[in-house]
């Protein structure tokens, strides 16, 4: 290809909203694939990697973080307008993240308690996923996202195909890798049966229950599973806390939420 005109490379933008940067870090953590990636795309906006930014439009934008301020809400619309293909990465951008716990509380009370000068704080009452503000082309789950899945999304985008990101339960991964079920064999509370696969079922492989970092699987029946969590020693408060972590309200169907104090 050296004798030919260099083909135009797709322009990549990486944007951050309310988040811990861990998902962007997953991109930097691609190590062996990072340089080939830099050959295939033109990285124009990726503040965690470089202060040199170039304006849009971007062919592919990866968006980390949730929308928690009026400024976020304005900026995400600009990112959308500048992006041909917008992919959210991680639990914050797809479900509001752990900071969406504010959605169940009084944010004004939080700001009064935490900040010496709360009037300086300009924040929304809720933390919401990007999809609550603008159309999203693909949502990649996880807290943080899985490196292999991120590369799959980018590779699929470059070759113009649908990414192969299964949306079934974590149990699929446990059974495929031969992990003994921690719920059935040990009585350990585990969110695997209702959680979206993608991490490779790491926690059960170490004898821990799944924490639900990837949010709900596409097809779940959470009300039918709660009695199992209760059987394994969780009281009502434990169950609520178990469900409301990195994906906050995402697990809970409205009917379940309403029945809970």
């Amino acid at each position: 290809m050296t004798d030919q005109e260099p083909r135009p490379r797709p322009r990549l933008g990486v944007f951050k909203f309310a988040s811990c940067d861990g998902c962007q870090l997953t991109l930097l953590d691609c190590e062996d694939e990072l340089l080939p990636l830099a050959d295939e795309v033109e990285i124009r906006h990726f503040l965690e990697a470089s202060g040199a930014v170039a304006p849009g439009p971007y062919d592919l934008s990866l968006v980390e973080g949730s929308i928690t301020t009026p400024e976020d809400a304005r900026r995400i619309r600009q990112v959308r307008a500048d992006s041909r293909h917008l992919v959210t990465i991680g639990a914050c951008a797809t479900a509001g993240g752990v900071q969406a716990l504010r959605n169940f509380a009084d944010v004004e009370e939080f700001t009064r308690t935490v900040y010496a000068t709360p009037e300086y704080i300009s924040t929304l009452a809720t933390s919401t996923p990007v999809s609550a503000h603008v159309p999203v082309d693909f949502e990649l789950r996880g807290c943080p996202i899985d490196r292999g899945q991120l590369l799959e999304v980018v590779t699929a985008y470059l070759s113009g195909r649908r990414p192969d990101i299964p949306d079934h339960s974590v149990c699929f991964a446990c059974k495929r890798r031969g992990t003994v079920c921690v719920t059935v064999a040990h009585g350990t509370p585990c969110l695997g049966p209702v959680t979206h696969a993608g991490c490779g079922a790491i926690c059960p492989a170490f004898g821990r229950g799944c924490y639900g970092c990837f949010g709900p699987a596409r097809s779940t029946n959470l009300p039918a599973y709660i009695p199992v969590l209760r059987r394994d020693g969780m009281d009502e408060r434990d169950v609520t806390r178990f469900l409301r972590t990195y994906n906050a309200a995402a697990f809970e169907e409205p009917s379940v939420r309403e029945s809970r104090p």
């Binding site: 992990t179 079920c181 209702v194 009695p227």
Partner: protein, 403 residues
Amino acid sequence: MTDSPGTERAVLDRDGLGALVRELRARGHTVVGPTVRDGAVVLDEIDSADRLPFGWGVEHEAGRYRLRPREDGAAFAHSAGPQSWKAYLHPQRLREWTADREADGRITVRAEEPARVSYAFLGVQPCDLRAIAVQDRVLGGGAYTDEGYRGRRARAFLVVAECTEPGATCFCVSMGTGPGAPGDAAYDLALTEVVDDGGHRFLVRAGSPAGAEVLAALPRRPADGATAEAAREAVADAATRMGRTMPGTDLHALMAGTLEADRWDDVASRCLTCGNCTMVCPTCFCTSTEDVGDLTGDHAERWRRWESCFDLDFSHLPGGPVRSSGRSRYRQWLTHKLGTWHDQFGSSGCVGCGRCIVWCPVGIDITEEAAALDREWSARTLPPTAPAEPGDARGRSPGRTGP
């Protein structure tokens, strides 16, 4: 327990079992057998009979599994564990081919050569022996043969351990698949473990020339009447201790006749659609293809991975999943397993191992669901007060088979 012509019955002691593992390894087999890991009797590659779960039993219930120590030190007194032999014969993920774009733009596709591994499975319970036979028909025969499966299967040496300790979720007797290994089944050696005042020993018989050859190489003694009788009794006694029973009705007709039963809504309200039942089922064989490429687009691979009818993607067509409800997916699984499997492959897809009951996180019980469908069907097909209208919602009318 009938002897095949030309084969002997012999007795091995614990050392003989050790010699069996050594002999199989010496013949180039990768020996896979039950062993204890992470609170369960799992299948793993073993280099010595010492790794067998001597002294471990299992307590099963719907959605519950616990290891229990056994005082008798038995090695094969544990019914079905979390995995089945399909993990080896029908691996969860396999590369099928790779493709590369060469510098001149040509694309070269290379089919993956299946690994030439030759397994010896030690401790195949009769229900699982039947499950292997089911997968032989599905994957190893018919118009669409999986050559990789056929090779792995042809090279595999099967050592059956007849079941003497069924679990609370076992129902092989009502499926006609156990607890003994029938004379017509395909295996190489069959063991029956006996632990009594006469010691810890294994009555063994050969089921193939290869089995007879291996047996001839082991330290053994001729079968004595007491051991043979104790073995016969242990298996006969196991048959009386099944924790579950599949209804004796014609399941093929039951499945075809209950497609619109209310019970499907009932089970769907409990089913998580997590897919565990299909993953642990020793006969479920469905796979999906996975195409992976590198960032340059110059290298691509096709892989095959286990798939499940509980996955929405399983029935994804351009308009979306055909079976979008949990009801339609559970029904697909059960009606295939117990009903249409007969039409497709000439047998039931269920061997009564009980894994789907044990490893379902919410303990959905296939025998209970079949029994409930049977009750509902009987109630509807018993002489009604008035003849049913054609095309009513009883589910026995033609044309109401869609999900």
